[in-house]
């Protein structure tokens, strides 16, 4: 398969890494050929990110050896990894919002081109060469996700990396942006770089990768050839089960309107419109999907419905009650479940045990509380139920939620929000960063509840998920709805066009 005369870009041999209570990696072997895109796949918590952090010197392995371009190295810090030619784009962006693009870019590499005009020129050069479209003097907080993603890759290139690690770079991108990214990756490959690429989206993996390594439970369980492998085989390798599909069977939409927004407008403190004249209705048993490039008002829409922001004008009805000015707590008590976009910021108390996290957002309702008192026993018992029903993998319900892998945290949140039979579910990216097994479970839970009459507002960046689950799809752009689509006939490409302002 590999050209024998060439030295492998990276060889990882027998890597092991233990955290308190967890073996993140053991006996990991990976070989990356030079000038290739190498995909690393595996379920949540399989140890992919940990392995990459080891390769980038952020964490030190307990066992094993790393060989880069034929030289065995010991990486004690990212500095040494950078010197060895490794660069990494993290799953969670590593950017300082309050600094400019230039400052983020030159940080730690000031020696290369200074921190002034020399650097500015070099950034423009890289930006033009790969079509990154980056302005060095803009504050990072002003950038959208895709631009941040490009900035992260540019940072790596700026340092002259030859081995580039991308940890789930596509999770937040729309198809057009993914295509653009892949275009960039091919350019990089052509320039002789090696790319290590992690994703949960198997068709993307098949589209871009030259080699595939599969991880399971902390170790490498096999490789696959993208030319011959199918999505089903990969899923089989990853989780040992069938590839799930979000596809819903038949419509369960009823006539009863559960949620309606009429002409909702939201302005910020400077009088700019964040949301403009949004109207929508969701009936019982209906899933309404919202598609849009991140930062076009989805988060604000969700927060407005959830009472975390009060609309400047317009009306929100829940059933036949006007809830425009209700607080979050009243809305939750009225039976709205909420799966927030950012589980760390909005969904969990990271240092509190699981059973206390079960109470969060349900403080005023049984089984979490009795009157003004917390019902510890009831909450604990119900947490056990969620852990069992939703297959939350955790040592126990007294574990702090921080200790769970992202996917398991998400399952806990979904379980919590589905309890107490909500009438309306507001779900933002319910399966983001979740492995295929857990994805299937979450979809199943949503589908089952929908059959029982649950109305769902689904915001997602995963267009397959949107198309599969939704009964109707609305596209949002700059705070306005710019198109309504029927999921049975729309393609991801159509949606992507509408999302980026093409013909609606």
């Amino acid at each position: 398969m590999s050209v024998p005369s060439e030295v492998d870009a990276v060889q990882l041999r027998g890597i092991g890494k233990r955290f308190p209570g967890v073996v993140a990696n053991h006996d990991v072997d990976v070989t990356i050929r030079p000038g290739t895109v190498h995909a690393l796949i595996g379920e949540n918590g399989a140890g992919k990110s940990t392995l990459m952090k080891i390769l980038y010197g952020v964490q030190r392995p307990d066992d094993g050896t790393i060989t880069i371009e034929g030289k065995q190295v010991v990486l004690k810090s990212p500095t040494e990894a950078i010197e060895a030619g490794v660069g990494m784009v993290f799953q969670h962006f590593m950017l300082a919002d309050n600094l400019t693009v230039l400052e983020n870019m030159v940080l730690g590499a000031e020696k290369l081109h200074g921190i002034g005009d020399g650097a500015r020129t070099e950034i423009r050069r890289i930006s033009e060469r790969f079509g990154f479209d980056l302005d060095p003097d803009v504050l990072v907080e002003k950038l959208g996700v895709a631009a941040r993603q490009r900035l992260e890759i540019a940072k790596v290139l700026y340092r002259g990396a030859r081995i580039i690690i991308l940890d789930e770079p596509t999770a937040v991108l729309v198809p057009q942006e993914v295509d653009a990214l892949f275009e960039n990756l091919r350019e990089l490959k052509a320039a002789g770089n090696s790319v290590l690429f992690i994703s949960h989206k198997l068709d993307e993996v098949l589209a871009i990768a030259d080699d595939i390594t599969v991880m399971r439970r902390g170790t490498t369980v096999g490789t696959a050839d993208p030319a011959t492998a199918t999505k089903h085989e990969l899923a089989e390798l990853m989780v040992g089960s069938e590839l799930p599909s979000p596809e819903t069977e038949e419509s369960t939409v009823t006539d009863t309107v559960q949620l309606s927004l009429s002409d909702v407008t939201l302005t910020d403190e400077f009088g700019r419109n964040l949301l403009t004249d949004l109207s929508l209705t969701i009936r019982r048993g209906e899933v309404l999907g919202i598609a849009g490039v991140e930062g076009n008002g989805q988060a604000e829409l969700v927060e407005t419905i959830m009472g975390m922001r009060i609309p400047t004008s317009g009306r929100i009805m829940l059933g036949d009650q006007d809830v425009t000015h209700w607080h979050t707590r009243q809305l939750r008590e009225a039976g709205i479940g909420y799966i927030p976009e950012d589980r760390h910021r909005h969904g969990l108390l990271l240092d509190a045990p699981l059973w206390e996290n079960r109470i969060l957002g349900h403080q005023t309702r049984p089984p979490s509380s009795k009157g003004m008192w917390i019902n510890r026993k009831g909450a604990r018992k119900d947490t056990e139920r969620i852990v069992a029903d939703y297959d939350v993998r955790a040592p126990g319900i007294d574990t702090p939620s921080r200790a769970l892998s992202g996917g398991n945290q998400q399952k806990l949140i979904v379980g919590r929000e589905m309890s107490g039979d909500p009438v309306l579910l507001i779900a933002s990216h319910p399966t983001r960063g979740v492995d295929v097994g857990a994805q299937a479970a979450i979809w199943d839970h949503i589908k089952r509840a929908r059959r029982n009459g649950l109305a769902v507002l689904l915001v997602s960046a995963d267009l397959d998920e949107l198309i599969g689950l939704s009964d109707t799809i609305q596209v949002i752009l700059r705070g306005r709805f710019v198109g309504t689509f029927d999921p049975s006939s729309v393609t991801p490409q159509d949606l992507g066009t509408a999302m980026t302002g093409g013909a609606a």
């Binding site: 990110s49 990459m52 952090k53 980038y56 952020v58 964490q59 030190r60 810090s77 990212p78 500095t79 950078i82 990494m88 993290f90 799953q91 969670h92 590593m94 950017l95 300082a96 919002d97 309050n98 600094l99 400052e103 983020n104 030159v106 940080l107 730690g108 590499a109 000031e110 200074g114 921190i115 005009d117 500015r120 020129t121 060095p136 003097d137 940072k155 940890d167 403190e269 400077f270 009088g271």
Partner: protein, 412 residues
């Protein structure tokens, strides 16, 4: 490339210009109030000199706060480090003269900073806890060491050490005299500017000049060098900095050490310039005020200078002349009304109305009384600070990772 340079210089120009305009408008308003109310003391060279002296220790502490917090470490221990500084200044000045004394003040402050750095950076202890402990230790250590050491000294006692030599003062002869002549004319605006110039060129302590210089140096180092960039990145996102090969621990250590040293210099100023000796408890909470000035100034050098000046000016004004505090009411009223107008221009109607109402109230107070009760004059600097913050606080932005403890290897 030339386009880039051009763009950059306009940014710098814009900043400098806006500061200049604000400063000029400020002096104009004060001058107007001075003439209307006939209180020459409002901008007398003596008042300005006193204001500078009252400002310097607060400014040094505020700068100390800036350095630490820009690197993500909240330093509530400034007060303790400042107290250590007063002792250090006294001890070293007594033995080796004022300049070694200032170094001694910095050194003792630095020891306080080191303690804070070890606790917060190496051990990841909560920054507030460590700061509170350092304030206890600083106050206790200075008192204890004074009692143990100073009674043996000439001019010393268990709680004081008097007669310390001050760092030299400088006067720029021609400028000073000319400014003096002009300021005595009590002309609108011109004389006020002359007063400021006079105060800055006549018998001004070199330590005051040093502290003002440190503001500029801090601004340049923090915002114009790669060292400063790395340091600030530790306060904004240390994980990101780490992934780019920045030695976060090192930068945090350096920042907190500098922070302690600056607070110590502030203490040294109290012992050597603001008075001529050490006495227990002489900081009187100025470390906390420095912290407040820094937050007031939005974690920026220019801003914290404004905060320290506001505090120093009002405090020295009320000490020198209780009557002038009454004139200050008019100043505040005008200030509020101008702020209201600015808000109205920006279409923040509700905010504008609130501010305008406040301005009208203060104006009414000014017009209907002819003095402010003494007790209230003491509160002036505190109330002013709260007022300004209540009106403008919404825009404050601290470094994103300020006060969060960080551990190596936690990136990703």
């Amino acid at each position: 490339m030339s386009a880039a340079t051009a763009q950059r210089s306009t940014i710098v120009e814009r900043l400098t210009k806006s500061w200049l305009y604000i400063g000029l408008i400020g002096i104009g308003v004060v001058s107007f109030v001075r003439i209307i109310t006939d209180t020459d003391d409002l901008t007398g060279a003596g008042t300005i000199r006193a204001a500078i002296i009252a400002t310097c220790p607060i400014l040094a502490a505020a700068l100390g706060g800036l350095w630490a917090e820009r690197a993500g470490v909240v330093n509530i221990g400034l007060e303790g480090q400042m107290i250590l500084g007063t002792w250090g200044a006294a001890f070293f000045t007594y033995h080796y003269g004022p300049w070694v004394g200032i170094l001694g003040a910095a050194l003792l402050g630095l020891v306080g900073g080191l303690l804070h750095a070890i606790a917060t950076v190496t051990f990841g202890v909560d920054h507030i806890v460590s700061g509170v402990a350092i304030n206890l230790i600083g106050a206790g250590a200075a008192t204890y060491l004074a009692e143990a050491v100073f009674p043996e000294y000439e001019g010393g006692g268990p709680r004081q050490l008097n007669g310390l030599e001050a760092p030299a003062q400088v006067t720029i002869p021609g400028v000073s005299d000319l400014a003096n002549t002009i300021s005595d004319q009590h002309w609108f605006f011109v004389s006020d500017v002359a007063s400021v110039i006079q105060a800055l060129t006549t018998n001004i302590s070199t330590l005051s000049l040093l502290i003002f210089a440190l503001v500029i140096i801090s601004a340049l180092v923090l915002w114009r060098t790669s060292f400063g960039l790395r340091l600030r990145s530790c306060g904004e996102n240390p994980q990101a900095a780490e992934t780019l090969g920045v030695n976060v621990y090192l930068y945090k250590y350096v920042a907190v050490l500098i922070s302690g040293a600056l607070a110590g210099i502030g203490g040294g100023f109290l012992a050597l310039v603001a008075s001529s000796g050490f006495s227990t408890g002489q900081t009187g909470g100025r470390g906390y005020i420095g912290l407040a000035a820094m937050i007031f100034g939005n974690w920026r050098p220019g801003g914290l200078l404004a905060g320290a000046l506001t505090f120093g000016y009002t405090d020295s004004l009320r000490l020198r002349d209780t009557q002038s505090v009454h004139s200050l009411l008019l100043l505040v009223a005008i200030g509020l009304l101008m702020f209201a107008a600015w808000r109205a221009c920006r279409k923040q109607v509700k905010g504008a109305l609130v501010v305008a109402a406040a301005g009208a109230l203060v104006m009414a107070w000014f017009l209907l009384t002819d003095s402010v009760p003494r007790e209230f004059t003491v509160m002036t600097p505190y109330v002013t600070t709260m007022f300004v913050l209540a009106l403008g606080s919404q825009r404050l932005r601290m470094p994103a990772a300020d006060g969060k403890s960080y551990r190596r290897g936690s990136a990703g």
